[in-house]
Every structure is written in C-alpha cells, then in structure tokens.
Subunit: 293 residues, 4 copies
C-alpha cells in the first residue's frame, strides 16, 4: 500500500515471449517508477490441454514519475496492447471507486464495511446503500450515506431488480457489494455488470450450496466451516471465487453457534475480497480468478 | 496426556438428569481419582426435532487409585450402565492398541506414522502393514514390522478383501488405518469392523468426492484445499468425519503443487484423527462424531 | 449456547477425589438438568513441582429444572463449597452483564462490539462508553448509549483515572473493556477490579511488548503477526492471557499494511475473549487462564 | 513447479527506474520464455528513513527456449549486472542441490525430510547425515545415505565443529540443515557458510529464545505455540527468519503435549523453509528475508 498517487495497469493477453519486457520497456522509456508488479502465466482449468496459456499482469507505476497523465498513457500504450492482443485497464489511485452496498437485515457486514470506510482503510465513495428492508436506514443515514428501501416480494422481483440497476447506474457505481443481501439478483442485472458484483456466501463453496449452509454443515458433521467471496453470475453460487476462509468448530457447536462464528469469517472474507477487487488485484480467467495479493 | 496408568471410560446413553452424578458417584465411592473428564449432550442431526438428545462422556481414572482392576470395574459398573441404557467401554492405558496399516505406493503417511511410533508418540503395536504393492516392503521390514503384499486386480477383489480381513483378525487388530490406500474396501469388510477402520481422504469433504480431488479443486478455483479423516463405511466417502484441516493455495499453484501441499495436511490430519480414536476420544452419533479433545 | 434460562456455576478448589460427584450429586439431588459441563485439573506453572494441582469447573444448569432460584441455590450450595474450600460464583443467564467500553480514536473494535450488541450476539447492557477523545461521541450516542469524554494529559492522569473508576462504579459495570484505549490505567484502578478489565493488545504477546508492536514485528521480519486479549493488571502487558490469534504476512507488507491486517485480528480476538469472559468461561490460576470453550 | 528444465535468476540491486525492463529485455532479446517471475522493492528495517530501497527479483526461464546454456548466460548477463550493481546468481534446475542434514536424537524432522526425498518431492542429493548421537545410523544407512557420528562434548567442541565443516565441504554441500540438531554451531562454522545453514527453532521467535521454549510457553500461558525456520548466524536465534507457523493449544495441554504438537509444526515449517531456500526463493536483506513463494 502506498500513500503516493499511482496508476495501476491490470491486463491479460495470450502467452508468448517478451511480454514483460515489452510492457516494462514502455514504462522505463518514459522514466516510470514501478512500485509493485506481479506476473502470472495461467493454464486455465485444464493444464496441459494444449489450449494455450494466458498471461496476467498487474503493475503499479508512481504517477509523478511519468511525464504524462492517464489519458496520454492510454493513448500511447494502446498500440502495444493491440499488438499483444491485450484485455487491459489502467486506473488512477487518486480517483475513488464508487461502491454501492446491498443489505437485508443482518448488520455485521455493513458495520464492518462502514468502520473501514470511516477509518479510510477503504478509501472509497459509497453513493448509497440499498436494502429490501428498512431496519438499517437510520444507521446508514447517520453516516451521511443515502439509503434506498427497495422491497422485494414474489410479485415485484423484475421491477425491484430494475430499480436496483437504475440506482446503481444513476450512482455511477463501479462495484456492487452484496453484504449478506438475501435476495437473488435477476440474471439480467448480473449480466449487465459482469465482474462488478461481489457476494459473500456463508459457506466454504462448493460445499453446501443453496439454503441454510450452516445447518447443512451441522448435519454433515464437518469440523471446519467457512465463507466465500465470489463474483455474481447468472448461475447461483457458481461465480469465480475471489477469497475464502474457514474456522474450526466442534461437536458442541449448534447451528446457531455456527451462524455466530460464521459471521466473523463472512465479514473478514468479504472485506478482503472487496479490497483485492478495488485495488484491481483480481483478474478473471474463465470461471477462475487470478488474485495478485 | 498422562504418564501414569489409567482407565478410560467412554460411553453414551439417552439424556436424563443425574447421569454425571451417577457415574462419578460410583468412581468417587471407590476413591477413584479423575484425571480428565468430558461430557456432552448431543441433539443429533436435527436439533429441536424432539427426537431427544443423547449423552456422551469420557472419563480417565487413575488406575492405582482404585481398589480393583478392569475386570472388577466392569462387573461393578455393569448395573449402572444397564440402568442408564448405556453403550460403553473401558480401556486400560497399559494395554497397547494394535493398529494394522494399509498403504499403496505413496509413502508420506506411512513414514509419518512410523516416525511417531518410533518416538513412542504413538504408543501402539503395529502387528503388520498390508499393501497392494510391494514397493514399501523393505522400509517396513527394516522397522521389524511384518509386511504383507496383497495385490488387488479387477478379478480378485473379493479374495483380496477376504485376505485383508483374515490378516487383520489374525493380527488381533483393534484398528485398521488406510494410510493413502488406493483401493476401495469391500462393503462386507467395512461392515465387519464398524468404527474401527480410519481413512484419510485427500479433500475437504463433502467437497470433491470421488477421484482426483485436487484436480477438481484446481478446476473450481478454490482458495483453500484440505483433507478429511473419517471412519470407513460401506458408503464411499460418507462415513463419520473425525478430523479435517485445510491449507491456503492460490492461482499460481498447479494441481501438482496442490498434491504436494495436500500431503502435509493429509498426514497431520490422519495422525490427529488416529490419536483421538486410539485414546477413545471419538464417539459416534449416527453419521456424526463427538470428539473429546 | 442455549436459548433457555440457565445458571452458570464457575468454581475452583484444591484437587481431591470426589469433587465432580459431590457437585453434580448436589445438582442431581434437586433434579437439576446439566446443559454443559467442563472440568480441568490444573497443575499451574510448574507441573510436577509437588505444589499440588487445583480443580476447575464450569457447569450450566437449566433454570426451570431446579425447584429454587439463585438465592436459595447459593444458600444450599454454600456448605459444599466450604467443605471443598472453593472459590466460586454462580450467575443467571437472565441477568445481563454490564460492560463499560473505553476507546480512543480508533473505531474498529467499537464498531465491531456495537454490531454484535445490536444483533444481540452480545446480549449485554452497555451503560456507557468512555473516551479520552470526543471523535466517536456521535456514533456512540446514535446507538442510545451515553458517552463520557475524559481527556487524559500528563498533568491529570490521577484525576482522569479516578473519574473512569467513578463512572464504572456508578454504572454498576461488571466488566471494563479497553477497545484500543491508548492510555495506561492507573495501578489503583487495575487493583480495584481484578479480572474485570479486559484489554486487546496489538501483538502476539510476549513478543513485542511496549509501543508500536507492528513496527517491531516489521523490523524483526516475522512471518505472522497477532493480537492478544488479556486481563489488565498493574504490570503492563503481563496480565493473564485469555485469547490470541495470528495472521500471515510477508515481505511485501509495510508496517501500515500490518496495522490494517492487525485490526481484523484485534477485533475478533477481543470479541472472542470478551464472550468467554461474559459467559464465565475464563477462570484464572495465578497468571494463567483456564478457558472452557 | 515445472517439470521442464529451467534456469532461476535470483538477484538484488539498488532501486532505480527500468530494472525489470533491463533484465527482462535481455531475456526477451534471446527469445527466453519466462515461466515465473517475482519482483519486490524493499525499504529495509526503517521504511521512510531515506536509506534508499533495494530491488529484489527472481525469474525462472525455460532452458530450451534460450540459444545458450548457463555458462554463456552468465557471461552475457554480467555487464548488465555490473551496470545495475547487482548481487546475483543463476542456477539450473537440472543440477540437484546437495543438502547435508544434522540431527541429534529426535527423529521427526529426519523421517519427514527422507520421506520427501524418497518421493522426489525434494529432488536433492543428500551426500550424508551427521549426528552427535548414533541412534539414527541404521535408519539413515538403510536409505543408502552415509552417516557420520561426530560426538560433541564440553571438551571437543572446536574439533567437532571443524569435523562437521570438513564433512560438509568434502561432500560439496550447498546447504546444511539442522533438523533438530541440539548443539550450537561454532561462530566460525556459521561465518564460513552464510545463508547456507538452515535451522528449525521450536518456538515462534522472537518469543521464548533459549532453552525449553515449550516450557516457557506453558508458563506464560500463551494460546498458540509455533516454530521458526531461520538462517543460522553467529548470534544464537537471531538469524533472518525464513518461515514460521503456529498451532492452537489450550489450558489442558501439558508441556509434553506442546512438545508433541510442536513437532508437527517444526517438521512442516522446516520442510517449507528448506524448499523455498532450495528453489532460490529466499533473498536476504540485512537481518530480514524476502521470500518469493
């Protein structure tokens, strides 16, 4: 983590010789000072299948070491990106990301995120919080953040999802965080913002998909329970996994105890996954992620 | 862990008032000194279902504090056990458990178990090691332990399983340990020795049952992999879980790296599960375990 | 964790035969239903020294199974306690503990505790929050909790400590929690409330005592950092340890990164330690603790 | 981990612009295929002190992608290294490292290392094992590895150390591993092979330096114990830390239990630290390490 302003280039391209040299050569040519850099050649889900591997990279360059700003960087870098057939983006640490939070009634993830935002550990804008209940309205508004109550019933799902999408887009949100939001997002909403919607699932996926994972874990008698932060896709609980963690339990723990322990894992895993995402550390390869920590 | 000789009572019975008082009252009456004791009321897989809970206990009593030995203890305690409708057993720390180990070609769990046996950390008898390969014969025999090569082919499965059962029973084995034994035991063999056969499975069950769990984990892109020690039942990978653990991996780890990391978890989880089992710390309730650590 | 009302007996006494039988016999005699029970014989810091061991226990009894309430329990149990030379107390789950929280400027532990209090995970009264700064006043008061600003300067330490003690006693506090309170409490205040003041220390004690533990950890190049919840005594950072945990770091983490990671450990360890304390799971033996989880 | 032959360049130099471009440019120029690469700018123990930071890197290049072998690589790269004022080395995955193991009576680390060597997980040569006792002679020799008994008494320390040094050098050892070797190496021996001697210390350093760390941990009442793999220097227990880990204990664990738990941590931490070292993943900066996992 650096205090100075920097640009973050996150990119992937087909693997070949000379990629690092080409990209860092461009930076060096303009006297760019590299703060942090990560590279990874990923074979995808079938290593050795001959499908070819893909190259991933993330580079932080000190902003004031370069003779130009982001606009010109983009323009000058574009030919290299084209040549390497790159998927790429570059962001500026001085521009705060805009994160819209969705919650239901459980408050542990929301308190945790707002505490990190208050202390500037999460240096983001929160244009609004959206909930299908209004119980957390006062708490959110006390922090000076607009709160939108969008009730969801069996009848109004399409309309509610459209309203969420409208609010997200009107807020110019970069990222949507489902902070224990207990409704399933419509496939259209998921498809409209791929790799921008993060969910925290209260199980160590792929175990115990679906409802009441802690009760499933209790019934199977596992000795550890966990939580998973993943990108939301139209397929429920199947999106690319960003972060996971577990905690030890034993025979004396009831499903209620597991729920309580689980909350501590959920909020920590969500906060870690969100930070990786916001710092452009997460790159997606098919249904898997590369996470440059 | 105590150096002095002690008796271990492990028991369960329907829950009611006064169980601890009844059992510890009997011990106190005979001036028995309790070294360690654990109690647990278990609601089973459906808490609050009204099926009633079951009471589990494990008590270590100093042997020389009692005025009688195990035979008389059993005789005197039997009426109380009957009255409480108990499932119970009592063992003597001076009598070493007899553990038969089954292996295939992978040596990491075998080396680990024999190191613990050499140092007396595992204070057991190993009457023999059985394998479907003969590659570890020399290593086992160097330790002065008989080695039986029981090849398994698609044709001789029934005969091989019968031979394993014969060797186990002839060895007067208390426990059979599948230390990365890569064959499936016949249902008859499993049924003949319930709660006496321990397996180490190279995945964090119930995720990734079946073949090549590390490859499955790689394809799903999970961020932690694990291993599970469980009792073997006729249903593959479904027996009661005794112990589990996990280790963190990331996008840079190939399936081969995961196999390597996994071995460290496998051997530690197997050794822990085996120790709990041998010290009569594992009691089974349906398809779950109570583990008094 | 049980939803029904129950009494918790937490006690210790010199070790001898028949303790469990004596205590659980008393409970059984009155048809008491034991929900959870733990026993431990502790040898103290010098095992095998011949100083004799001490016996610790914690028993939860269903309230409505007994024919009397707490007052009569105490009266009837007193002779047994005297006979066994017991240190004991019994509490009622229906009576909420009163917890006074002290903070400075860092908000992560406070947010975390108030989220747990809001959701009733921590089912306590918080009569007030005390701080040497006033930056968290609004947040605390929004929750309907009185906030006292007690500034501490080099000149007024004695007066400030007296004021804290007055506020704690006036609030009829059971427990004082230093939730990253950055002032040292006066020895008199510590001595006045032994085993009632919990602190969260931002290091894996006994490593890195004193100021700036994360910077010390950075300089030594350790690969894990941690946090410690302990009872406050007049000796700084030396009180009995209640709970600890660690998190992995590496060479790329600056001291500032460690501070950020550390916060997640601090709040979780404090919350766990506090819960153990409030549920009377922590018994102290000299400068060590027995924690019946 | 790659099956193909590759060269590993591990280097550090004063930080400046263009380092990655210069080094990877050289590789790309010769059509070198980079398998894995890591870079890190390290500020040393006093970040922000103005002492300047140092740049660390590790690059794996596919051997058969280059038009020349190691000798010519060295020659051609030397001018760049000089220009960048680099400390550097390059190794060939086809040349096995030679590891001399020192042990005393405890066998857990030795069994663990030999199991890894047998399975080729550790693809090394073990020219010999040296011990101050002869109890493990048979076990080592069964593996076809020469065993040298070098007794150490209060009188012969200098001679014994000279003999160890002679055996190490005669064996053309790259690395010396103290696998729970219970003697202190002479400062001359440490100084003769800096960053080549790895020790496993049975405590989570810097806590509990000196003798009997598990007993110290027991007396302090910590809730986690650990182990540390570090380079040996003339200052006892002060060398650069390569790897650490911990395990949870509780009040019921005696010092003997901790010794038993500790062994599992010791052997795993030693094996991990050794692997990082052998794969040239560990670079030293002052008394700290950069570990490119």
């Amino acid at each position: 983590m650096h205090r100075e302003r920097f640009f973050t280039l996150a990119a992937s391209c087909p693997d070949r010789t000379g990629i690092i040299a080409r990209v860092t050569g461009f930076i060096a040519e303009h006297r760019g000072w590299v703060l942090e850099s990560s590279f990874h050649s990923d074979e995808g889900p079938e290593p050795g299948s001959g499908h070819g591997s893909r190259y991933f990279m993330r580079i932080e360059v000190k902003a004031d070491a370069l003779p130009f700003m982001l606009g010109e960087f983009r323009e000058r870098f574009a030919p290299i990106a084209r040549e390497l057939e790159m998927d790429w983006k570059i962001t500026d640490s001085a521009v705060k990301k805009r994160v819209v939070i969705l919650v239901s009634k459980q408050e542990h993830c929301l308190y945790d995120l707002l505490a990190r935002w208050q202390s500037k550990e999460l240096d983001i804008e929160i244009p609004c919080v959206i909930s299908n209940h209004d119980s957390l309205k006062g708490f959110v508004e006390w922090h000076g953040i607009p709160f939108h109550h969008v009730p969801v019933t069996s009848d109004n799902k399409a309309r509610a999802n459209a309203e969420i999408q409208r609010l997200f887009e009107e807020s110019r949100g970069d990222t949507m965080v489902l902070a224990r939001y207990m409704q399933i997002l419509a496939p259209e909403l998921c498809a409209a913002h791929p790799r921008r919607i993060l969910n925290i699932h209260h199980s160590f996926l792929p175990s115990f998909v679906g409802a009441k994972p802690y009760h499933q874990a209790y019934q199977r008698g596992v000795k550890l329970i966990g939580a998973t932060c993943h990108y939301v896709t139209a397929e429920l609980d199947q999106g690319p996994i960003v972060e996971q963690d577990v905690i030890r339990i034993d025979h004396s723990d009831s499903p209620e105890d597991m729920v309580r322990y689980g909350k501590d894992i959920e909020k920590t895993v969500l906060a870690r996954g969100l930070r990786y995402h916001l710092e452009d550390r997460v790159l997606v390869h098919g249904h898997k992620t590369v996470v440059f920590r």
